[in-house]
Amino acid sequence: MTKKQSKPKIAFFDFASCEGCQLQIANLEETIIEVADVVEVVEFREVMTEKAERYDIAFIEGSISRPIDEKRLKNIRKKTKILVALGTCAHLGGVQRLGNQWSIKENLKEVYPTAKPADMKNNEFFEKPRHKAVDEVVSVDYVIPGCPIDRTEFIRVVVALLHGNKPPIPDYPVCVECKKKENVCLFTIGKFCMGPIARAGCGAICPSHGNECEACRGYISHPHKEAQIDVLEKYGLSAKEIMDRKTMYTYRYVENEKQEEEA
């Protein structure tokens, strides 16, 4: 086998998303040239024309909404050894999951008031546009959370996966990283923050720039038990209060809770 043939085959696929996570790959700048040296990028529609039949690693960006998208995703799953959910849309369903609060009909009416019912009837592009995470449709081997993903985390994960390892995803609150950076706690200056229950790994990038954490990486595994207790106590907050205040990226948990209540 020549060296070229033995390179692992990597592919990128996008579903409902802003494609900002793929953009982070382009934003690796010179590093992407090094990456291209050790792997073979076989499919990446946003930047290349070629297509392939088999992949070692498939990265999935975007939420999964319609039956045609589910079909496409299941087909990718069949063709890849490892499947990675890339970014918040693939991990949790993205901001667009907020649209699930309304019926499909209500969404269509709000966004497109003059649409004729005939245009939507028997229309696979319009069929059940409910946004879901990738792992609600197929099995997922690894998740790189974040809106957008962190470029350096992406490289770390790719290197680990290529060596047959699965690097652990941080499972502690953003507060831990924020304190390490010696940032002023946003609660002390009267701002709100989801840091005490949000999953770290971003380097507390938003609070470090004076903006609240919005939990784009989701909650830690046990937010009620393992939240940043000292911060919650100091400002008289509960994990639940933080969850209720902001749901931009976390509507998946709201849906889960509703389902549990119904069951």
Partner: protein, 437 residues
């Protein structure tokens, strides 16, 4: 003769563009039966789900319409919110906001010309083969891309989905020292820009020679090459107030395609770098002007493929203007301005218009007395271009029919790519079925 052949081309999910679009061509005996530009992106319904969200979340949510122009979306969103809630901003904030807008334009333009269009000029499928065949040029392109991104990183905290841009100003601002360092790097990039431009100039004859008269629409301003603010300008009808945007864009639906289409006076119009150039070329900075001359680009140019060249010209203009902005801010002294804003909430509607890489972008919000959004409308540049792409295809295809099928396909794809379409943006709300014949 070759015109007696039957040509059937379906390009599903055109590559090297942002989002999912298709090209369908059917021709027989030299007669075109069908030529269509179609969109198949999944709908996300932003305008629906921003309802009931508080004003301070809006720019963070709507920046997620598009990863490539997230800064432009955030700024259009903030301008709409600030207009609706009557939140004032300082001149420092305006200057500082213009920097990442330049950064994003530079990033998007160099990504498009360098990574997505250049492979067509070399007849390869992606930028990857160019890494080994033209390593020096690729490295220069990468360095210009890096500069653009680091500029946005510095001002916004990160280049995609900006953190520091908030209603009323900034949650954090860069130090004077860092701005000066950025200025030095911008100055050093100008010769690199020229070198990359020369490589493109050597290959510019590979861009198809095709022109079709159309209307061009962009923000316009008397004092500067408008990007952050201005009035709506048209090559056909002069200037209009931003508040009248709905009567300019006239969104409508056509059964054979997906996203909403737009038209103004003619059957279609174009937005983006070429439209801005056609309306505002006299206000470009000197080096950008000189570069346009080198490419023989002068207003009004009706060749959509020259949009690629207008993007290179704009990259240089943005570098020059950023240097000018930094000088001005450093001279004036930077104020921290990071006190939490006291906003008096009252119901209202506001419109924000900004030029983003692909053209003029509108956000239009209505808020209730509690600062919750009750109604939103976002009109995206690529939506405004879909109709023009379709009309260009109809006019361009007859010129191509004598060519081999692969060449026809390549030329049509190059036409779509010239517009640098951003389909995620354009279908942030809607998708309609194509009716199969």
């Amino acid at each position: 003769m070759s015109t007696s052949k039957e040509i059937s081309i379906i390009v599903e999910h055109v590559t090297r563009v942002e989002g999912h679009g298709n090209i369908v061509l059917n021709a027989k005996n030299g007669e075109i039966k069908k030529i269509q530009w179609q969109i198949s992106e999944a709908p996300r319904f932003f305008e629906s789900f921003v309802r009931n969200r508080p004003y301070y979340e809006l720019s963070h949510i709507t920046s997620r319409i598009c990863g490539i122009c997230s800064i432009g979306h955030a700024l259009a969103s903030l301008k709409a919110t600030e207009n609706a809630l009557k939140i004032p901003i300082s001149s420092q904030t305006e200057h500082l906001r213009k920097l990442p807008l330049h950064g994003e334009n530079m990033q998007s333009h160099i990504l498009h010309v360098g990574y997505l269009v250049a492979p067509d000029l070399y007849r390869v499928g992606s930028v990857f083969p160019l890494i080994s065949s033209a390593p020096e040029t690729v490295k220069k392109i990468v360095s210009l891309h890096r500069l653009a991104n680091e500029m946005s990183d510095l001002i916004c905290g990160r280049t995609t989905h900006p953190i520091t841009l908030v209603p009323g100003g900034f949650s954090a601002i860069p130090s004077k020292n860092k701005l000066n360092k950025l200025k030095t790097r911008l100055e050093k990039s100008l010769p690199v820009c020229s070198e990359v431009a020369n490589v493109i100039l050597d290959n510019v004859d590979k861009l198809p020679d095709f022109s079709r008269e159309t209307e061009y629409i962009a923000l316009t301003d008397k004092t500067e090459y408008a990007l952050y603010d201005g009035k709506i300008g048209s090559t056909d009808t002069g200037t209009h107030s931003v508040e009248d945007y709905e009567s300019i864009v006239n969104e409508f639906i056509v059964p054979q395609s997906t996203a909403k289409y737009c038209k103004h006076r003619r059957e279609s119009y174009m937005v983006g770098a070429l439209a801005r150039f056609n309306l505002n070329a006299s206000l470009l900075h000197p080096k950008a002007k000189a570069l346009a001359k080198k490419f023989k680009l002068s207003p009004i140019n009706y060749n959509p493929f020259m949009n690629n060249i207008a993007q290179i010209v704009e990259y240089v203009h943005s570098v020059e203007d950023s240097i000018h902005l930094i000088d001005m801010m450093v001279d004036n002294g930077l104020n921290r301005e990071d006190k939490p804003l006291k906003i008096h909430l009252s119901a209202g509607r506001g419109i924000g218009a900004v030029e983003v890489p692909r053209g003029i972008l509108f956000h239009d919000y209505t808020y209730d007395n509690n600062g919750l959004c009750t109604k939103a409308n976002c009109v995206i540049p690529t939506n405004q271009n879909h109709n023009n792409i379709q009309k260009d295809m109809e006019a361009f295809t007859p010129q191509l029919l004598e060519k081999p099928k692969d060449e026809i396909k390549l030329n049509l794809e190059m036409l779509v790519r010239a517009y640098d379409p951003c389909i995620s943006c354009s279908t942030h709300y809607l998708d309609v079925r194509f009716i199969d014949e």
